[in-house]
């Protein structure tokens, strides 16, 4: 777990892209998104609740995602998020930018 805080700072700049990436396959809700982030990183990374919701708000205002209330048969209704066409475009663009950055840093350090 040591050194994670430095890594976290680097990752934080990509919070929105990370969320968009989780929504590319299917609509999802807060905890499920965080769970899949945890799973993909073998438990090394996850978003704080507050970070997650403020990113949702920014993305929704920018029309990158939409939210709707799911119809759970059991228990309470969850708020689901769906990626928009615009969001998919942003995701592709961010991914390209990241590939570029990665190549650049790799050749420098």
């Amino acid at each position: 777990m040591t050194g994670l805080s430095i890594t976290s700072d680097l990752v934080r700049g990509h919070t929105e892209t990370i969320i968009l990436a989780q929504l590319m396959d299917k609509d999802s809700y807060g905890y499920e998104i965080n769970k899949s982030i945890q799973m993909r990183t073998d438990g090394q990374y996850e978003l704080k609740e507050a970070t997650l919701y403020s990113a949702f708000k920014r993305l929704e205002e920018a029309k990158m995602i939409e939210s709707y209330w799911g119809d759970e048969t059991t228990g309470a209704r969850r708020r689901y998020y769906r990626i928009t066409k615009l969001g998919k475009m942003l995701y592709e663009k961010s991914k390209e930018d990241w590939e570029e950055t990665k190549r650049l840093i790799d050749s420098l350090i």
Partner: protein
């Protein structure tokens, strides 16, 4: 245990404005934290351990609550646009009020008090309807959310609107008195006595105010 989580969330949101947005957010968070908590129990954590981990996963709530309630860029632009338009309408109306007696003075000295009167009333009518239209289109203060503070502000805006109505009325009455003064003076030529109209006008206005305030 669910109760403990509920209480914990109540504390987190204790200082948050009671808006639809924060209540929805609290519900959303509650469901997510509950699921996380239940998952942790399934993985073999004790209740206390699970609760601690859940608490640590929350992060900076104060900032989130601030962010969640501020209007987005689209909302802000809309408010600014309305404000500008409303200011423009008011400026035009005020200019019309100020200019309205000019017509009667000018045309009156040219011996045409009646056309002067007509122009003046047209200007006053135009300015008043502009203000009324503006008040309907852009109410003084619209509630951003449903908190007590917002209700207080709305009440304040309402009493300000009442005051404005009174001012509007005074703005109409005095030009009329001026018109009457010129009209009667020109037709009767009794300039030495017609100034009494102003004193009578003041009395009438006070009376009307007293009745309106009841």
């Amino acid at each position: 245990m669910e109760e403990k989580l509920r209480i914990y969330l109540e504390e987190l949101f204790a200082n948050a404005p009671k808006t639809k947005r924060t209540i929805e957010l609290r519900e959303e968070m509650y469901l997510n934290l509950k699921e996380r908590y239940e998952d942790l129990l399934k993985k073999g954590a004790t209740e206390d351990e699970a609760f601690e981990i859940v608490k640590r996963s929350v992060g900076d709530m104060d900032r989130l609550i601030l962010e969640i309630n501020e209007p987005g860029p689209a909302g802000k632009a809309e408010i600014e646009k309305n404000r500008r338009q409303s200011a423009k309408f008011k400026a035009i109306a005020v200019a019309m009020y100020i200019l309205s007696p000019v017509a009667i003075i000018l045309l009156g000295t040219m011996g045409l008090p009646i056309p002067g009167l007509v122009v003046m009333f047209a200007l006053i009518a135009g300015a008043t309807s502009l203000l009324v239209y503006n008040n309907i289109m852009h109410p003084g203060y619209t509630k951003m959310d449903d908190t007590m503070v917002e209700e207080f502000r709305e009440w304040k805006a309402a009493s300000a609107a009442k005051q404005e109505k009174k001012n509007l009325y005074a703005g109409i009455v005095w030009p009329i008195i001026v018109v009457l003064y010129f009209l009667i003076s020109f037709t009767t030529g009794a300039w030495y006595v017609t100034w009494v109209i102003f004193i009578l006008g003041a009395v009438v206005q006070k009376l009307v105010n007293a009745i309106l305030n009841k």
